[in-house]
């Protein structure tokens, strides 16, 4: 597993100057939510740039042979183009073989679990032995800098996870979706339903002192928070129960990273020690949607996961609304690394 973060870093203390809020309120929020630093792409950088940088890093070091890849799954909400798919861009730029199954998935915070499930399905085909799962998002481009509810937490990043056959241990998973709640996390304009226009680009006062356009990401924070607290603990209970395991049998809970407070509340509810669920990604890099699970993994367990195996529970939850989890014994990886992109 490789995670790629832009070198450009912004601090919450700097961001605070953009918001029309008293400093003391913002600093209290910083402490509770864990806001501190976030990594953002600079103008001109696309999703494929981050992914290509990661692949070249792996190829040049002999960690993956380009011809060994039979499948490429790219999970992103920030594709280079409406068409062609970003997986085509990556396959073409890297000169990967043509006999290859490539596809893009539009998924967000559950995108690592959904992408893994898709990669496993590909591995069910006789001709597919190794799949590269790319998670990448540069959603900072779609967040209003005047929206204190979203901007301080957003981060840009990419990850490459190589999934291959082997291993005797079963992988347990559950994936859930409730499209009736899709508007809780949405970019209302810019697609075919409501194309971008000068009207949709206009910043509007959306309350609480925040300014946002319909071209920007809109998050109903209260609804999303409640969704996570209501849906995630029973999903994990079901997963563990189906696997015949208990929370105590799990070494690490590697969850999507919305903010520290939300994760600590999940720990309290699930009676999981905070130390088993690292929650430092928002603080160090920002919330990069489907990339946060690989990011929390490489940032906290790089040495551990290359040296030995652990029982790990992954869980992602967000846009869709989608939520999913996976329980697997994994480790002994060839690489588990974090690299910086750009200057």
């Amino acid at each position: 597993m490789l995670a790629i973060v832009p070198a450009h870093e912004q601090s919450f203390v700097e961001d605070m100057k953009q918001f029309d809020f008293p400093e003391s309120r913002s600093l209290k929020l910083k402490l509770v939510m864990g806001y501190d630093k976030h990594r953002l792409v600079t103008p001109g950088t696309s999703s494929s740039d981050l992914a290509l940088f990661g692949f070249r890093h792996l190829f040049e070091r002999g960690l993956v042979a380009p011809d060994s890849l039979d499948g490429l799954v790219v999970v992103t909400q920030s594709p280079d183009y409406f068409m062609p798919p970003t997986s085509s861009v990556i396959q073409g730029e890297l000169g990967l073989k043509q006999d290859m199954f490539c596809l893009d998935l539009n998924q967000g915070c559950a995108g690592f679990v959904v992408g893994l499930a898709q990669a496993f399905m590909m591995l069910g085909l006789d001709s597919v032995r190794r799949v590269a799962l790319v998670n990448v998002d540069i959603l900072s481009r779609k967040v209003s800098t005047k929206d204190r509810n979203s901007y301080p937490l957003i981060g840009d990043a990419a990850s490459i996870t190589i999934v291959e056959r082997g291993g005797e241990e079963p992988v347990f998973a559950n994936l859930k979706m409730d499209g009736t709640r899709r508007e809780a996390l949405i970019i209302p304009a810019g697609g075919f339903k409501l194309p971008s226009s000068p009207e949709t680009a206009k910043l509007e006062d959306v309350g609480d002192g925040n300014l946002r356009a319909r071209d920007n990401l809109k998050m109903d924070g209260t609804a999303v928070f409640n969704f996570v607290q209501v849906e995630v603990p029973p999903m994990i209970d079901d997963l563990l129960s189906f696997a015949g395991a208990s929370a105590a049998d799990v070494d690490w809970f590697l969850f999507h990273q919305p903010n520290k407070f939300m994760l600590q509340k999940l720990c309290d509810k699930m009676k999981v020690p905070y130390a088993k669920m690292p929650s430092n990604v928002v603080e160090r890099f920002g919330n990069s949607s489907g990339v946060t699970i690989p990011l929390v993994t490489v940032a906290n367990l790089a040495r551990e996961l290359t040296e030995r195996t652990f029982r790990v529970c992954f869980a992602g939850f967000g846009v869709g609304l989608t939520w999913g989890s996976m329980l697997a014994r994994t480790g002994g990886w060839r690489f588990c690394e974090l690299v910086g992109y750009g200057n």
């Binding site: 929020l29 509770v32 509810n149 209260t222 928070f225 409640n226 607290q229 509340k265 309290d268």
Partner: protein, 80 residues
């Protein structure tokens, strides 16, 4: 645990010192608290009373006014 209502008001004023919380019956509608203040408030209440308010209870109705907060805290054995 018995606590005075003043203690809750003190915690609220630490978050938004400019408001009179005793004068409002709907903190959200009256603009005294927003959704992020609610999170800050939960964190402060958790710390002050050594409790952990369940994540599913972090909804505006439970923080609408002093009576609602008092009712929520009673579930955790904190009587006002």
């Amino acid at each position: 645990m018995e606590v005075r209502l003043d203690r809750i008001v003190e915690i609220l004023k630490d978050i938004r010192p400019e408001f009179d919380f005793r004068a409002s019956t709907d903190f959200m509608a009256d603009g005294l608290l927003d959704s992020f203040d609610m999170v800050t408030l939960v964190s402060a209440l958790d710390k002050a009373f050594a409790i952990s308010i369940d994540g599913t209870e972090i909804v505006p109705e439970n923080f609408q006014n002093l009576a609602a907060i008092g009712k929520l805290l009673r579930k955790y054995g904190v009587n006002t």
